[in-house]
């Protein structure tokens, strides 16, 4: 046809055919077009396939950082500013913006220095009683910045590091300050003036507590309360002191929690002693736990929240403890988990400020980073040649300081964004703080800085399976039986109407099913619970009774209705039974359930939520029926006619043919239909979101709700910080969903293709 179009142009009296040049040009043009089309389509096609593949790649790339281990790399090293020879380093800190470090010496000097280069910024001397010598040092939890020096005359001086931030010329200027919340004058801890050997300190909005072991082994705890006179501005300090029951041996360290209930003392024999100081006038000794039998607790510290204690021992163990409440409401300090063992005594443990992570150093100079909730060891490498004496981690976990015995300081950058997520924290039971045993919990939202996020995917996965299970329980029998009947028994004319009617359901937005389930079905089921069960039981019975009566009817009447119209005959029966059950429901409730079946269930120990698995099962079953029905119906319908006709010709009844011939042939197709339906039920979001209470619980109770992976993503993803662990765990949930449905669907699809081949052979 291209040649035809060329004709008028060459019609100038000479040949009517195009010249060789023209043909050549035309050919080239056509080849060019052909190539453009080929490569254009190729590029677009491959592009689309790649774009779809991108979904996997991208989700994977967002999830991967969760499982990366931490990285620590030393940036610079210099002598610790402010620590002179003969002095020793007590403590190291980093400010919130990673620009300033602070060193605390045993002589009471606090020196601030630029982390970059180690330049000296300023020094402060702690006020010290004239004739006393420093004998102990303690810090409160790192976020408070509070610390205390104890002296050999029974006094302590308490200070707090603070940073004043100003913005001259839009540049951040940080000025370190030393504050004295109780005044510069040292506080008297022991009136008798005995030397303080070991000091423990805690500061929170509930007050300030200090505990000490004195030179004669007496243990005492004191609370300080600061009162400021509004008129004069004078500060008075109120003190309450009480002596703690003693134990055999000497204390090494003392920890106090920030709610002032628990006090722990580690001794030199490997025990941690547990005191209840909730009532300060009557402190009680609760017992001791043995951390190690071949050494002593060389270092212990609180984690963020001051509930968990991490104890490091002289034989290299790192163990976590926290108090667990037993049935008698008594707290027991309980061993929770162990972390990777070190080869040498533990020298120092530094907790992260906002997370349940901590850094451990040992005498061989090894550094380890661990996370308590995840039970994870995320980093382990030697940092110094000699013992690692002090460690500091910045409040944002991006920078760490390591000091060794020779007063050399290493400044190292730390990249450890997601220590709290590990395989075990996601999929195994985790013993969370405050709970009496390891559990599966999803509770991601932070209730404050001290909150321990609980991100176990188990309740969500179980919820997903629970929802899918009840949906399938409802949908599978209806859809499969319906498919068999429609494909095999129903008259073709009726089938032409019924099949599209059910298939239209597939296009119905699930948000509509969800809202009906939540706003109409849930209250309906709650008020008419006996009706629901009545329908389940009575419906098949009514159908059978009607069928039997029908078979007893005289021949002439029965033959009036053609074969394959049973479904239509049953419709009035079904509607009647449904109506009757609903109407009778209140009377049944009065007769058998004292007026309310819901109340009766609650009284008998079944939790009943209005939006529960039963409602979800029905609503989601609704959404799944068309999927299963459509594919299964095709499978049954495509069973070759000569097979069934042969069976019928040999004298089998219609039903015997179905059981003996149709079902075996179509069973794989029906199985694949069920799998497809399952895949859809697993991923459904809106119905679950609207028809359940979305509480992540771990049971299969049909009267309780659930939270599924998909609903959880919909609820939480928009409210979480981009790039946080929570954000990435939600991406992981999406990836799990994707993988789950993709696998199920692929399997179903492969089965279907196999089946098609088999039919071809029959």
């Amino acid at each position: 046809m291209n040649d035809m179009s060329q004709r008028p142009r060459s019609g100038q009296g000479r040949s009517l055919l195009p010249t060789p040049e023209q043909r050549e040009r035309l050919r080239r043009k056509r080849t060019l077009k052909d190539n453009i089309s080929r490569y254009g389509i190729g590029a677009a096609g491959i592009g689309v396939v790649i774009a779809l593949g991108m979904i996997f790649v991208y989700l994977f790339s967002e999830v991967m950082p969760l499982f990366k281990s931490a990285q620590v790399s030393t940036q610079q090293a210099y002598a610790i500013p402010g620590v002179e020879s003969g002095e020793s380093l007590e403590h190291l800190t980093i400010d919130r913006y990673d620009t300033l470090g602070a060193s605390f010496t045993d002589t009471g000097r606090i020196t601030f220095f630029d982390l970059d280069g180690g330049a000296w910024r300023s020094s402060f001397e702690m006020p010290r009683p004239d004739d006393a010598m420093r004998s102990a040092f303690a810090t409160a939890f790192a976020t408070t910045g509070a610390f205390a020096y104890g002296y050999d005359n029974g006094t302590i001086s308490l200070g707090r590091v603070d940073y004043a931030i100003t913005y001259p010329d839009n540049l951040r200027q940080i000025e370190p300050e030393l504050r004295f919340p109780f005044g510069e004058e040292p506080l008297v801890l022991d009136e008798a003036g005995r030397a303080i050997q070991v000091l423990g300190l805690q500061v929170s909005d509930r007050g300030t507590y200090a505990a000490a072991e004195l030179e004669d082994g007496t243990l005492m705890v004191t609370s300080f309360d600061r009162r400021e006179n509004i008129m004069t501005g004078a500060v008075t300090v109120e003190q309450a002191t009480s002596e703690l029951p003693g134990f055999d041996g000497r204390a090494r360290q003392i920890l106090i929690d920030n709610r002032y209930r628990h006090l722990y003392v580690s001794d030199d024999a490997g025990y941690i002693h547990h005191y209840n100081i909730g009532n300060l006038s009557n402190p009680r000794y609760l017992g001791a736990v043995q951390v190690t039998d071949s050494g002593y607790v060389s270092e212990m510290t609180y984690l963020n929240g001051t509930v968990s204690v991490i104890a490091g021992t002289s034989d290299g163990q790192v163990r976590q403890y926290f108090p667990v409440r037993d049935a008698q409401n008594q707290y027991d300090l309980t061993h929770i988990r162990d972390f990777a063992r070190y080869d040498a005594p533990i020298t120092h443990i530094a907790p992260e400020h906002m997370r349940r992570g901590f850094l451990v150093g040992d005498e061989l100079g090894n550094l380890g980073i661990h996370h308590a909730t995840a039970g994870a060891d995320v980093f382990d490498a030697p940092m110094t040649d000699g013992p690692l004496s002090r460690i500091a981690i910045s409040p944002v976990n991006s920078l760490a300081l390591f000091a060794d015995e020779n007063h050399q300081l290493q400044v190292a950058s730390v990249n450890n964004p997601h220590p709290g997520i590990s395989f075990s924290s996601l999929w195994q039971k985790v013993w969370y703080e405050g709970s009496s045993q390891p559990r599966y919990v999803w509770q991601s939202t932070a209730g404050g800085d001290e909150y321990e996020p609980k991100m176990s995917l188990m309740p969500l996965t179980l919820g997903t399976l629970k929802a899918a299970f009840y949906a399938m329980l409802f949908a599978t029998p209806l859809a499969l039986m319906g498919a068999i009947y429609t494909a095999y028994f129903m008259s073709p004319k009726l089938r032409g109407k019924v099949k599209p009617t059910i298939e239209v359901m597939e296009a119905l937005p699930t948000v509509i099913l969800g809202f009906l389930a939540g706003l109409w079905l849930a209250p309906f089921v709650e008020n008419r619970l006996p009706a629901v069960f009545g329908i389940l039981i009575l419906m098949p019975i009514a159908m059978l009774v009607f069928a039997y009566l029908w078979s007893r009817l005289p021949e002439w009447l029965r033959t009036r209705v053609p074969d394959g119209w049973e479904a239509v005959l049953l419709m009035p029966i079904i509607i009647f039974v449904g109506w009757a059950c609903v109407t009778a429901s209140p009377y049944v409730e009065i007769m058998f359930f004292d007026g309310s079946m819901r109340q009766w269930l609650t009284d008998n120990g079944f939790t009943y939520d209005q939006r529960n698995a039963l409602v979800v099962g029905i609503a989601m079953g609704f959404a799944v029926i068309p999927t299963i029905f459509s594919i299964a119906e095709d499978a049954v319908f495509n069973v070759p006619k000569h097979l069934t006709q042969g069976s019928l010709a040999l004298g089998a009844t219609r039903w015997q043919t179905v059981v003996g011939v149709v079902l075996p042939t179509a069973s794989i197709g029906m199985f694949s239909a069920v799998m497809m339906g399952f895949g859809r039920a697993v991923g459904e979001t809106m119905i679950v979101l609207m028809a359940t209470g979305n509480s992540p619980i771990m049971n299969f109770n049909i009267f309780e709700g659930m939270r599924t992976l998909s609903a959880n993503i919909a609820v939480e993803l928009t409210e979480t910080a981009v790039g946080s662990s929570h954000f990435r765990v939600l991406f992981l949930a999406a990836l799990v969903l994707l993988a789950m449905t993709f696998l199920v669907n692929t399997l179903a699809e492969i089965i279907r293709q196999r089946l098609r081949k088999r039919y071809g052979n029959l």
Partner: protein, 558 residues
């Protein structure tokens, strides 16, 4: 009996029952939505009755619309705080009625349950009226007189006509006010924002000469002054209009006799349903329906119309189909006509097919992470850096919603087109090639036209799926209340970065996030009805187009 049982007939009947149940459920569902949705627009009767303790004599008056009734056992009624007479024992049943009594500003509770035990006969007073208001929900009561600037202008005879004409006038003024606020003020503030951003960009520019900078800043300031002037003029106009709007006041009594003053500017509609004739009711019904479809939502979406949601849904779906159709069709042609058939291609094909079964929320997660945070974030960095840190494209938006849904529906289009291409007999292709046509000529002039029905089907199925999808949209672009439509009269007319309202999300939001569930419920049913109609119509169109085109091309392909 035994024989009957053995023949398997009961099983056949049970299977028949399964079909019957499924069909009844489908029809029942659609019927439920239709009945509930359609009855929302009907001007139902206003009833009036007295409630109180039967022993102490009848108490206060209640007036409103009957919503639904419930039969409950006596213990439940006692739990619910209904004063059940002691002579009824726990085996008896009590009927209670939910009455929409409106007047939220007067009674504080616009829906209340009343037990039938304590009710007088229901009356339907002919002059009872229902006022649809812009605030505080509906009002039920009797009109007393109309005031203009404190003076009585209508009372008794002719009051209703006067009220209607004044409501009409107020509505005209209100529309005018809206128009000025939306368009004129909108244009000015858009330009102001533009100027502010330009100023900011200039000040940040490190390379600019100081003289040029000052010159440009001066220009901007001049323009700002002019705009400010215009804005003040408009403000004056708005003030005048507003004064006019609230000129009149209606004095009405609620049932029981309390007098209430209502500004006529707040009234959207005034109806006396009890005295309407059947024709008038029909007219009222149509008007209500139209107001619902074309109006804007009021009172946290629990009243008014759903036009922005319909508009948002349609815009988003259109944009999506413009993205998905070329790519889906090209990908299908590639897979079927160009790619080398082999195990790898089979794997790809199965994967693509299966992506249709991947949960939609997964696409939403991908859209949020990749489109919004990665792509949108980069676009903001490159082109809208002066607006940072407030995001332009780096937040949920129309374009990302459309792209996400395009990705979601891509497998649908590919599968459908491929099926169409596969159905074309190879003899057609061979014939074309044998006549000397190149592959692309064969493709574009012979094969593709024959496959158009399949492509159209795929497209429409994609649209139907996209229109009903909500879960991914919650992450990538819909909001409960968008202040502006994505298409308007300010440049560049189609605002891809705006968030949209969506019918499906509207259902979720109004039904589940709204503070006043009872008031929202009929609205949700009506919205659901609109969505169902939209989707069923789309699906039926798909089927009929497929059939028609199949007929047209049947001659060609045989």
């Amino acid at each position: 009996m035994k024989l009957w049982w053995k023949s398997g007939a009961p099983w056949v009947w049970l299977n028949a029952g399964a079909v019957a149940v499924s069909v009844i459920m489908v029809l029942g569902l659609i019927g439920l939505i239709a009945v509930r949705g359609l009855s929302h627009f009907y001007p139902s009767e206003i009833v009036e009755f007295q409630v109180g303790d039967p022993e102490l004599g009848l108490g206060r008056m209640v007036m409103g619309e009957h919503v639904r009734s419930e039969t409950i056992p006596v213990p439940v009624a006692r739990d619910a705080g209904i004063a059940v007479p002691p002579e009824l024992d726990s085996d008896d049943l009590v009927v209670r009625h939910l009455i929409k009594q409106g007047n939220r500003d007067v009674t504080g509770q616009d829906f209340a349950w009343y037990a039938e035990l304590q009710m007088s006969e229901w009356q339907a007073p002919p002059d009872a009226m229902r006022l649809e208001r812009r605030e505080w929900g509906d009002f039920y009561g009797y009109a007393l007189r109309v005031l203009e600037g404190g003076e009585v202008v209508a009372e008794g005879e002719g009051l209703w006509e006067e009220l209607q004409s004044r409501v009409e006038r107020a509505n005209t003024l209100f529309r005018e006010l809206r128009r000025i606020e939306r368009n004129d003020v909108g244009v000015i503030s858009a330009e102001m924002e533009e100027l502010r951003l330009r100023e900011r960009a200039l000040q940040r520019d490190p390379d600019i000469e100081p003289d040029a900078l000052w010159a440009q800043l001066d220009q901007i300031q001049d323009r700002q002054a002019i705009l400010d002037q215009e804005f003040q003029t408009l403000r004056g106009e708005i003030d005048i209009l507003r004064r006019e709007l609230y000129r009149d006041t209606l004095v009405a009594t609620v049932t029981g006799g309390q007098e209430v003053q209502i500004r006529i500017g707040d009234i959207v509609r005034a109806v006396q349903p009890n005295s309407l004739s059947l024709t008038a009711k029909a007219v009222e019904y149509v008007q209500q329906f139209w107001a619902f479809v074309s109006g804007e939502p009021r009172e946290a979406n629990t009243a008014g119309g759903i036009f922005p949601a319909i508009f948002g849904t349609v815009t988003m779906v259109l944009l999506m189909s413009m993205i998905v159709s070329p790519f889906g069709v090209l990908a299908a042609i590639y897979l079927r006509e160009y790619a080398t058939q082999g195990p790898l291609l089979r794997l790809i094909r199965i994967s693509v097919y299966n992506l249709a079964g991947v949960p939609s929320i997964v696409y939403g997660v991908f859209g949020l992470g990749f489109f919004i945070y990665t792509m949108g974030g980069s676009i903001d960095q490159l082109f809208y850096s002066e607006r940072l840190p407030s995001p332009t494209f780096g937040s949920p938006a129309l374009i990302w919603a459309s792209l996400t849904l395009a990705l979601l529906t891509l497998p649908v289009v590919i599968v459908s087109t491929e099926e169409g291409l596969a159905r074309i007999p190879s003899s057609v292709r061979h014939g074309s090639l044998a006549l000397g046509a190149t592959k692309s000529e064969t493709l574009w002039k012979v094969v593709v036209p024959l496959a158009t029905p399949a492509m159209m089907t795929g497209m429409i199925l994609a649209i139907a799926r996209a229109a009903g999808e909500v879960a991914p949209l919650m992450l990538v672009g819909v909001v409960k209340l968008a202040p502006t439509l994505p298409v308007d009269s300010t440049f560049p007319f189609i605002h891809l970065e705006r968030q949209i309202m969506h019918l499906g999300f509207h259902i979720y939001d109004v039904g589940f996030q709204s503070p006043n569930v009872e008031a929202a419920r009929p609205l949700v049913y009506a919205t659901a009805l609109v969505l169902v109609i939209l989707i069923i119509v789309l699906n039926l169109t798909a089927i009929s187009i497929r059939n028609r085109l199949r007929e047209r091309y049947r001659a060609a392909s045989d």
